[in-house]
Amino acid sequence: MPTLTFPLSRIEGHAQVVIEVHDGEVLSARFQANEFRGFSYFVQGIPAEQVPVIVPRICGVCSTAHHVCSVKALEDAFGVTPPPLARKIRELLLLGQIIQNQATSIFIFTMPDRLNVDSIFQVEDGTENQNDKDSIAFKALQVRKSGTDLITLAGGQFIHPVKAVIGGVTSGILEADAEAMRQKIQEILPVACDLFDHYWQMSIAMGERIGTWGDDSPAYYIASIDKSCPNYDTQMIHVADPNGTHVDSFTAHDFREKLSFRESLHSYAGETSFRDSIMRANSLARINMADSMGTPKADEYLQSFRAQFGKPAHAIMLFDLARGIELVYALERAMEILSEPLDRDDTDVPYTPRDGEGFGLVEAPRGPLIHHYTIEKGLIKEAEFIIPTVHNMRAISHALMVAARRYVTADKVDMELEKAVGRVVRAFDPCISCATH
């Protein structure tokens, strides 16, 4: 009974796919997370107020989401509501996170699959030479950097930001700095749209070449954003059924009653389910549950997406296109916020630490992220991190099974399977550092 093991690259963290085959039949397809650091253990006994500095280190890619989520969990525990200015600046932080992440995912992680190369840094034909300023690699890094610059402006530093504090943020944003950032984004928006148009065409071509858009089984979708003009600093989690009908909404406090969680014996990451069924989080969930994006360019892309793929759309390669729509939205929305007055003094409200329990929720690039802390004598007694990638674990395994059955036949294993495995996993853009923490 051969076992096929595929190490994975161009994803965040250490993982592999293991597919067991017997007599041409695929017995199992497993997605294994291969690292573990133990954040829920080692924050135990830490003064609660230090957690927003520690937990961003769960992940250098998603540190902004953890930073804001952690502050929100402590605000919930301490019973404090941040002022509107602080919420604006946190919204900017999370938009920066979306820009950075979606640009990285589509232009650096998955573009090479469409170009049939190992990396965008290794495209070396003509104008797409990696040394060329017109190259995809250079432009991709430029778009990505507009997101990281935005996080730096709103968060102090773009990896492991520091400016969100319990009760608000440490400072506002000077008008001149906000205007300079707005102009920078204005310049980068057409570059991002051009790259995305190119990516869209290449995705269509790839779909035709390989003859599939991947697993298109209907599934439940989970996201915590509103139906239009999403603010990723969220309050409620929503679930839609496989027909796209809204079936449930709940706060982070109630996640235990709504979602079931199971540890895995062969992976350091567990998996969640909704009504014992597979659910999907991340870009496609948000796009399927949105009425509109609320900004002009992004809405144009959304309309094209709907016209071509319907609502709800299920094929997994559409996660990738959905990311592009969100990238454009986040750039446009950030410009709107940067035009508002952000240079004010009402950045935070005072608070009194107290013991108890707190839940934080944000919509991270990969879906709803929950932090749950229990505080005793000012120290963390217990901490839980409900990671968006974990909501997708069953969906990833299912999509891998679909791909494996496509390429494994009675007489042989078509080694296109190796590429398919990469494409499937990257469509979900899993974050293993986060999923295992």
Binding site: E12, V18, F36, I46, V53, D118, R144, V165, L265
Partner: protein, 282 residues
Amino acid sequence: MPKFAVLQLSGCAGCEVSLLNANDWIDRYKLVYMPLVISAYDVPDVDVLIVSGGVRTDEDLYNLRRAVKHTKKVVAVGTCALSGGIANLGNRDDVRALFISQTTRMHVPRLLPRSQPIDDAVNVDLYLPGCPPTSELFMAALFQTPGFVPNKIVCQDCGRVKDRTVRPTHLLGFREGNVQSKLCLINQGYVCVGSSTRGGCRAPCTRAGHPCVGCRGPSDSFIDKETADWLASIQRVFETLTDVQPEEIMASIKTPQLSLFLFQFMDYLGVKRTPRPKEKVL
């Protein structure tokens, strides 16, 4: 074009993300291995091997030992690779017991008893501390940027003004209160350890109003000294700039779990280590 590879052990990928934020290497160095952005199974022969993350699993150890055979130079980047970093929190004995519950899993890399810095296993030619090191420091490490001399301590990067006449009598909580924009954070009552922390980062945290947590580790003056000397130095700074009682200062900076000291005082947990030579630390 010289070639370089990036090996990521157990960490958060923040160091890799910081490297990606610098465009400058694109036309000067050829990146041949970095699983985050390149599909490649093995580290080929390279001029420079950048290693991030700590040694947490048997797989980390295997990959590290195998990779260093293919390089002329090993650069350890980030606090995890240098001193275990934030993972040191998991090395506390009371917390280590909890990890045993993870040993029942199958077909996954085994956890080692502790998270270790990479120089426990291999020789390191250059250390680049930071959590993460800034893009500018990455470039300096790769290219030995001419004329780039990092500041000795974070205070020199910070630009906040120390004022001996503004003397708080009590410390503020770790992250509470309204931060004034120009005044030294210690004058405002925050526990900031920038005065003994290695500079060169341009102080993004303190400039944004957040106390330095010491992620770049000890400055050259303290790198080969005992923890007690560093603590005494921080104490002296607080005595110069505040009227806070010595007991309150010590209680605050000696909280064993205080995240401030995870980075800076890697031997706080009783792990004795030979100091890294100053000339090898950027």
